[in-house]
C-alpha cells in the first residue's frame, strides 16, 4: 500500500472528524500520472471520493458527483499528504487544480494533518 492508499484508508478508518463538523460535501480527488495538469474527469485518473456529512466521513475508490474536485499528479499528492509539499503553494504554481467549492477544498485538507501521516510539514 503506497502513501496515497494509506491516506484514504486512514480517513476511512476515522469515520468522524470533529474539526469538519460544520461542513458537508463531497470532494473528488483525481490523481493523474504525468504533468500534474490533470486529465478530464475519470479519464485515466485514479479517482477517490471523500464525503463529509457534518464531520462524518466516508471514502470510496471510484468516481461520482462532487462539490469540489481536486486534480493533481499522484506523486505530488503523495508528497502533500505526507507533509513534503504544501497544497496552497502547489495550487498557486498550477500543480493542483481545484474546481467547485474552495472552502470545502481548504477544510478537507485538514484531513492531511489528522491522519497522523504528517505531524510536521517540511515543504
Amino acid at each position: 500500500m503506497d502513501a496515497v492508499e494509506q491516506f484514504f484508508t486512514e480517513v476511512k478508518g476515522r469515520e468522524y472528524e470533529p474539526t469538519l463538523r460544520r461542513i458537508s460535501g463531497t470532494v473528488r480527488y483525481e490523481l493523474t500520472n504525468g504533468n500534474g495538469k490533470g486529465s478530464p474527469s475519470g479519464n485515466g485518473a485514479d479517482t477517490w471520493m471523500i464525503s463529509i456529512d457534518k464531520g462524518d466521513l466516508s471514502v470510496a475508490h471510484r468516481t461520482g458527483k462532487a462539490d469540489t474536485i481536486v486534480r493533481t499528479d499522484r506523486k505530488l499528492f503523495e508528497r502533500i499528504v505526507t507533509g513534503r509539499a504544501a497544497a496552497m503553494s502547489s495550487m498557486l504554481r498550477g500543480l493542483v487544480f481545484i474546481e467547485g467549492d474552495p472552502e470545502l477544498a481548504v477544510l478537507s485538507s485538514r484531513l492531511f494533518a489528522t491522519t497522523g501521516m504528517m505531524e510536521v510539514r517540511n515543504g
Binding site: 496552497m88 503553494s89 498557486l92 487544480f97 474552495p102 481548504v106 504528517m118 510536521v120
Partner: protein, 674 residues
C-alpha cells in the same frame, strides 16, 4: 510622488497610475495594475500623434473608478487645444477604460492614437527590490486582442487587452488610425483582463455574496445600512462618513468566503487577509457593520493552522498572519501561503468571537466555530508558551523569511529597555498576556453558555485567574509603578514605558488597584501628547517622535486604550483620548493615517503625518468608530444595549441612529460634558 498618483481598487485588484492615467512602472516603481499580489500591467501609456497629453482635471468618482480629462500640449496657455481626451477607468476583473477623443475644431482631423502596453508580472514583494524574474515572457496577437504572458515552470499568469473599436495590435500595444469629423467624437472601450485563479481552478462559492458586481449600487447600499450619525461638529460628520466609505473600499473577499467580505489591512499594498488587522478592525466596526466580523471569523477559522510547519511558522490552532497569492508565495520564496507568524491573532480570534455574539446574538457562529475556538485556546498553552513559564512569547522558526517581531509593533526596535537595549527572543510582550487572559475569560463564557461544557469553562476561568495573579506580580515594576513592556528571554523585565500598557486595560488583566497608576502614565506628559498616546514614552532611550513604533501616535492603538480606560471607569480620560484623536482626524479630512508624529500638541499645533505607503489603513479607519462606541459608553448587556455617554464638551450633541445588534436597531443620544 506617491500622493500624486491615482489609485482605484476593488478587493485585491487595483490600479495605480499617474495623473494622466498613464502607467510607466520601472522594476522598483509601484504603479501598475495589480491583482492577487501580481502586477498584470506595468506599461499603459497613451499618446496622440506621438505626443503625451496634459491633465486638465481628474475626477475621483469613487474608490473603484476615476476619470481623467486630458488635452494635447499646445506649448502656451494662449493657444486653446482643439481636442480633448477623456479616459474613464473602473476596476473589475482587471480594468475597463472608456477612451473618448473629442474634436472641437470646425474641420475633421486625422489622428494616430496609440496605447503602449507591457507587463513585467512582478510579484508585489519583488517590486521594491527589483528582483530579476526567473521565468519567460511571451505574447500572442490576434485580430481582437493582445495577450501578454509569463511562464515559470507550471506557474502562468496572463493579461489580455482588447478594444471594441478596430485597432492594430502589436506586441507593444494598440494603434488606432482615426478620422474624426468636425465637432465630433470617437470612443472605444478597452478591457484589460487578468487571469490567475480562473486559470488554475474553476470555483463556485457557497452562500450568498454580500456585494453585487455593480460597485456603485453596492456602495450606496452599504452606506444606507450603517447607522446614521447626527452631531454639532461638522468635522466629526466628515470623519464618520470618510471612515464608512474607506471601510467599504477596504473590503476584501477571500475565495473561501462565498463572496462575503472582511476588512483587509490597508490600501493598496495590504489588500489581503491579515489575522491581526482583520480581527482588530472587525472589533472596531462591530457596532456599525457586524457582518465584517462574521466573515473574518469564518475565513480565519477555515485557514486555522493544522500542523507544525517551520517555514510558515504554523502550529495547530494558530490563526493566520498573512495570505498572499504571488509568485514568491507559489515558489516558497516567501512564506505567505499562508504565513502564521504572529502571537496575537489566535487569542484575539476568541475575543472577537465572543464580542461578536455579545453584540449580535448570533449563537450559530459560536457553536459552529467551537472546534476552532477550542484549538485557538489550546494553542495558547500548547504552542505559545515557548519558555514554559506560563506566558505567551514569540520566536520565529523561519529564520530566513519569517517575521522577527510577532506582535503589532513589528519593527526591529519597537521593544526595548529604558536604556535602549533590545531583549532577546523568545519575547513575551505584555499585551499578549492580556489577550490570552481575555481569550480565556471569554472562552469560559462561550463554553458555559453555548458549548455546554461547564468543566471546561471552570478550567479556563481558573487558568485566567491564575494568569492574572502571576502577571500582576511578574510584569509589575514597583519602582516605576508600571507594567513591564515585556519579559526578556532570560526572564528580566523590559522596563521601557510604552502604550502596550493601555491594551492591558482593554483586556481586563490589570488589578483594579494598579489601574490608576497605569492611566496616570498613559495620560501623563511622557506618553500623552494632547493628540493621543505615544507608542513609546518621551525620555526612553529609543524615543523618537517620528519613530514608527518608538514615539509616533497610532490612532488604532489609542482607540483600544480608550476602550480599556472606559472598562476600568476612567471615562473622562477615555473621552480626552477620543477628543484628541478625533481632532487630529479633522486635520486629515477625516482619514486618519496609520500613525502621526508624537510631538507635543502645543508644539506643532497640527498632527504631523508619518510618511507611509499605505492609506487608508484599516484599523485607522476603524479607530473613529471604536472611539464613538467608547464615548457613548455602548455595551451589550444581555438583550439590550446599555448607554453611558461621556463626551468631550466640544462635541455638543451626538446621536447615533439605528445601531444594529441583538436588540434589533436602536438610537442613542449623548451630550458633551467632559
Amino acid at each position: 510622488m506617491a500622493d500624486r498618483m491615482v489609485s482605484i481598487l476593488d478587493g485585491n485588484t487595483f490600479v495605480v497610475s499617474d495623473q494622466r492615467g498613464d502607467i510607466e512602472a520601472s522594476p522598483t516603481d509601484t504603479s501598475g495594475l495589480f491583482s492577487y499580489d501580481t502586477r498584470f500591467l506595468s506599461t499603459w501609456v497613451l499618446t496622440v500623434n506621438g505626443e503625451r497629453l496634459n491633465t486638465l482635471s481628474i475626477d475621483d468618482l469613487n474608490y473603484f473608478e476615476s476619470r481623467f480629462f486630458l488635452v494635447p500640449d499646445t506649448g502656451t496657455v494662449y493657444v486653446n487645444a482643439t481636442m480633448s481626451v477623456i479616459r474613464q477607468r473602473a476596476v473589475g476583473g482587471g480594468f475597463r477604460e472608456a477612451l473618448t477623443v473629442l474634436n472641437h475644431a470646425d474641420e475633421p482631423v486625422k489622428l494616430t492614437v496609440r496605447i503602449d502596453a507591457g507587463c513585467d508580472f512582478a510579484d508585489l514583494f519583488e517590486v521594491k527590490d527589483a528582483a530579476k524574474k526567473k521565468g519567460k515572457y511571451y505574447h500572442r496577437i490576434n485580430h481582437s486582442s493582445l495577450l501578454l504572458g509569463y511562464q515559470r515552470e507550471t506557474f502562468n499568469r496572463e493579461t489580455t487587452i482588447s478594444s471594441t473599436a478596430p485597432c492594430k495590435y502589436d506586441e507593444n500595444g494598440l494603434t488606432f488610425e482615426l478620422r474624426i469629423g468636425a465637432h465630433s467624437e470617437w470612443s472605444t472601450d478597452l478591457t484589460v483582463a487578468t487571469s490567475l485563479v480562473e486559470e488554475i481552478s474553476r470555483q463556485k462559492v457557497r452562500g450568498k455574496a454580500d456585494r453585487s458586481p455593480d460597485l456603485a449600487a453596492n456602495l450606496k447600499k452599504w452606506m444606507a445600512r450603517t447607522p446614521k450619525m447626527l452631531c454639532d461638529v461638522p468635522s466629526l460628520d466628515v470623519t464618520y462618513e470618510r471612515s464608512l466609505v474607506d471601510l467599504a473600499a477596504l473590503r476584501f473577499s477571500p475565495r473561501i468566503a462565498g463572496g462575503r467580505s472582511l476588512p483587509a489591512a490597508g490600501l493598496p499594498w495590504f489588500m489581503a487577509m491579515f489575522g491581526r488587522d482583520s480581527i482588530l478592525t472587525s472589533l472596531q466596526a462591530l457596532p456599525f457593520v457586524p457582518e465584517l466580523a462574521e466573515t473574518t471569523l469564518r475565513a480565519l477559522a477555515t485557514w486555522q493552522g493544522t500542523v507544525l510547519d517551520d517555514f510558515r511558522d504554523e502550529d495547530p490552532g494558530r490563526i493566520v498572519h498573512e495570505m498572499r497569492y504571488g509568485e514568491t508565495a507559489a515558489f516558497e520564496e516567501q512564506p505567505h501561503s499562508p504565513y502564521y507568524g504572529n502571537a496575537d491573532a489566535t487569542p484575539l480570534f476568541v475575543v472577537l468571537l465572543d464580542e461578536y455574539e455579545r453584540w449580535t446574538g448570533d449563537s450559530k457562529v459560536v457553536k459552529e466555530l467551537e472546534p476552532e475556538a477550542r484549538a485557538a485556546l489550546a494553542w495558547i498553552d500548547d504552542y505559545a508558551d515557548l519558555q514554559g513559564n506560563g506566558y505567551v512569547s514569540y520566536k520565529r522558526r523561519n529564520e530566513k523569511t519569517g517575521l522577527e517581531n510577532q506582535c503589532w509593533k513589528d519593527s526591529w526596535d519597537s521593544i526595548s529597555y529604558r536604556d535602549g537595549r533590545l531583549p532577546d527572543f523568545p519575547r513575551a510582550t505584555c499585551e499578549l498576556q492580556g489577550y490570552a487572559y481575555d481569550a480565556k475569560m471569554r472562552g469560559a463564557r462561550l463554553a458555559r453558555t453555548f458549548w455546554k461544557d461547564p468543566a471546561y469553562a471552570d478550567e479556563l476561568t481558573r487558568q485566567a485567574t491564575d494568569l492574572k495573579r502571576r502577571f500582576n506580580q511578574d510584569f509589575w515594576l514597583p519602582d516605576r509603578q508600571a507594567f513591564a513592556l515585556a519579559l526578556d528571554a532570560d526572564g528580566s523585565k523590559v522596563d521601557a514605558l510604552a502604550s502596550n500598557m493601555g491594551h492591558l486595560l482593554w483586556s481586563g488583566i490589570v488589578d483594579k488597584a494598579k489601574a490608576k497608576a497605569v492611566v496616570r502614565h498613559l495620560m501623563g506628559p511622557k506618553l500623552f501628547t494632547g493628540w493621543g498616546i505615544r507608542t513609546l514614552a518621551e525620555g526612553e532611550a529609543r524615543f523618537n517622535p517620528i519613530g514608527y513604533h518608538v514615539g509616533a501616535v497610532w490612532p488604532f492603538d489609542n482607540s483600544f486604550i480608550a476602550w480599556g480606560m472606559r472598562n476600568y471607569g476612567f471615562k473622562v480620560e477615555a473621552a480626552r483620548v477620543a477628543a484628541g484623536i478625533l481632532d487630529a482626524a479633522a486635520f486629515f479630512r477625516g482619514r486618519l493615517p496609520e500613525a502621526f508624529g508624537g510631538y507635543e500638541r502645543s508644539y506643532t499645533m497640527y498632527p504631523v503625518e508619518y510618511p507611509t505607503a499605505c492609506s487608508p489603513q484599516a484599523w485607522s479607519t476603524g479607530a473613529p468608530l471604536l472611539l464613538l462606541r467608547t464615548m457613548l459608553g455602548l455595551e451589550p448587556t444581555e438583550d439590550r444595549i446599555s448607554v453611558d455617554p461621556v463626551l468631550p464638551k466640544e462635541i455638543g450633541h451626538l446621536a447615533l441612529l439605528d445601531i444594529p445588534g441583538r436588540w434589533g436597531r436602536v438610537d442613542v443620544y449623548g451630550r458633551g460634558r467632559a
